[in-house]
């Protein structure tokens, strides 16, 4: 695996040190018409950590990720990425800036094989021009093989060798989630956003997935933002937790501290509160 780790070689990486602030959101608010999804939220994600984002249903967690990777544009607030305030940015620009993402509802390319799904994730790193691609020769062929090798490393890492050539539409849900992680990893992101990567999985699958997430974080040094409902998983995996409720931030800190906070307990018990 170690050949694959060298972060300095990863294109689009900042070479930031562990512990520096990689991403910061300041006073971000997002509304859809009258519905306020996010209200005045600020928090940061530091290089190398696993940052959990938790909260009850509809709290605004997914919306937060969508803001981070440029899918939604907040009406207020700023996003600072690698120390620079980011202008309004399209999702593909966020992708080429080193932000990758998995989805709450699996969003794979259903008609393609596992291999092609993951290969698509390497598209940003492929450079050969149209003419070479027409010929599938020279630089284009060299590049295909080079990236295929990387993809095979990821396939080995996530233990999905057996389903390499299977169209992903035919795979069971748990494996689809794994392929989606593989596709995101293929981008060699600096920040990986995972939206409920374990939803709908059985205990064994959850354990596997937890192990993969930790391995990604520790072996590749990838910074991870993780949305998860299973508190056990959150406690085990994350370094710091931010808690959202009705679009507001109600707690932020190490897992045990957050878990003990009265606001958080109330939010999860559904204690009514004034808006």
């Amino acid at each position: 695996m170690s050949a694959f780790v060298d972060p300095a070689r990863m294109a689009g990486h900042s070479g930031m040190e562990k512990g520096e602030v990689l991403l910061r959101v300041d006073n971000v608010s997002l509304a859809f018409g009258g519905v306020k999804a996010i209200t005045n939220i600020s928090f940061d994600i530091v290089k190398g950590e696993v940052r959990a984002i938790i909260g009850p249903n509809g709290a605004g967690k997914t919306s937060m990720l969508n803001v981070i990777n440029g899918f939604y544009h907040p009406q207020e607030g700023t996003i600072t990425w690698r120390g620079k305030v980011r202008r309004k940015m399209k999702p593909y620009e966020a992708a080429s800036n080193g932000i990758a993402r998995t989805f709450q509802n699996v969003a794979l390319f259903k008609g393609m094989t596992t291999l092609d799904n993951i290969m698509t994730g390497r598209g940003l790193k492929m450079k050969s021009n149209f003419i070479w691609q027409c010929l599938h020769w020279g630089p284009a062929l060299k590049e295909e093989i080079e990236h295929r090798r990387k993809v095979e490393e990821i396939i080995d890492f996530l233990e999905i060798q057996a389903i390499r050539k299977t169209p992903v539409g035919r795979l069971p849900y748990g494996l689809q989630k794994r392929v989606e992680l593989a596709r995101a990893l293929a981008m060699e992101p600096e920040l990986l956003l995972l939206d409920e990567p374990m939803a709908g999985m059985n205990l064994e699958e959850k354990e596997d997935m937890s192990r993969f997430i930790l391995d990604v974080n520790q072996q590749f040094g990838t910074t991870i933002a993780l949305i998860e409902h299973d508190m056990g998983v959150v406690m085990d995996l994350s370094d710091r937790v931010v808690v959202l409720d009705y679009g507001r931030k109600i707690a932020d800190g190490p897992p045990d501290e957050v878990q003990a906070s009265q606001d958080v307990i109330d939010a999860y018990l559904g204690v009514p509160h004034e808006h």
Binding site: P91, Y92, F109, G111, T120, G123, M126, L141, R149
Partner: protein
Amino acid sequence: MLYREAGQYKTSYQRDQAIFPIAQDRWVVWTFVAVAFLVVPFFVNDYWTNAVLLPLLIYGLAALGLNILVGYCGQISLGTGGFMAVGAYASYKLMTSFPEMNMILVVLLSGGITAAVGSLFGLPSLRIKGFYLAVATLAAQFFLVWLFNKVGWFYNYSMTGQITAPDREMFGFLLTGPSALPWVKYLFCLTILAVFALIAKNLVRGRLGRNWMAIRDMDIAAELIGVRPLLTKLSAFAVSSFYIGMAGSLLFSVYLGAVEVGEVFGINVSFLVLFMVIIGGLGSIVGSFMGAAFLVLLPIFLKNFMVDGFGMMPVTAKHVEILLMGLLIIFFLIVEPHGLARLWQITKEKLRMWPFPY
């Protein structure tokens, strides 16, 4: 010979990514190509070239082009007839303005011009999808036919409003015009089709092809992994139109020789090529040819079978043909969206298991 891959180990990623990873497939394809290039030309006559071979090759090329757009990139188009007309009129203008120009160059440039026009009409695809895009491309179809009818410059102000291909040679053999030789026409179209089928295959198994399919399957996720939607869709429109433009160019210059735009490139053609793609198999190169072969051969077969064989009225036979086509479309859309190509693949999978299915 048994059809299976046992004992054929792929020792490199390159060989694993080959177009036909199974040796038997490779042999079949090479034999097919060899027969098409080396044997058929000695036996072709006027009837076979005009009734079967040329329509097969030319519509195969058009279906291939449309399949890139519809089957691989998931964008619908009903403008095929109009884009073929662009290719045809581009060829006419090139042939009459530059009499010395080589026919290969004429066909390629006609493809290029159609690609530009196709991308222009592909622009709305960033904003609109599905039904609305279909309507937008339908507008392109009608607009283009209207344009070529209306503006005299396109047909060099000829009295009839028709365009007629002048005589052109290829390697000293007459390729276009009334006295062109069947085998020259056949080989010319076959070569272009073979080369561009290979290019299409290369594109769809490379980065651009994966990006097309990503947009087709889940455009939001595609964008989030760095696929640029507009660029990707426009490239599909451009490549697709390039193929369709070449098909239009060949249909006019090599096959028909003279064209009246409304008759030859009307909305019927748009649907015909779309049906070829659907019946042959969305997202399959071989499927495009199967679909084209099917819809070119079906009427001939039905005519021979029903009219000559059973003495049915030609009109009735035509109605049966339309009915059958409708039923087939419904069948393939509902039961097997991957078309003949998929049925063929299933047969092969069964064959691979045979004689022990478990």
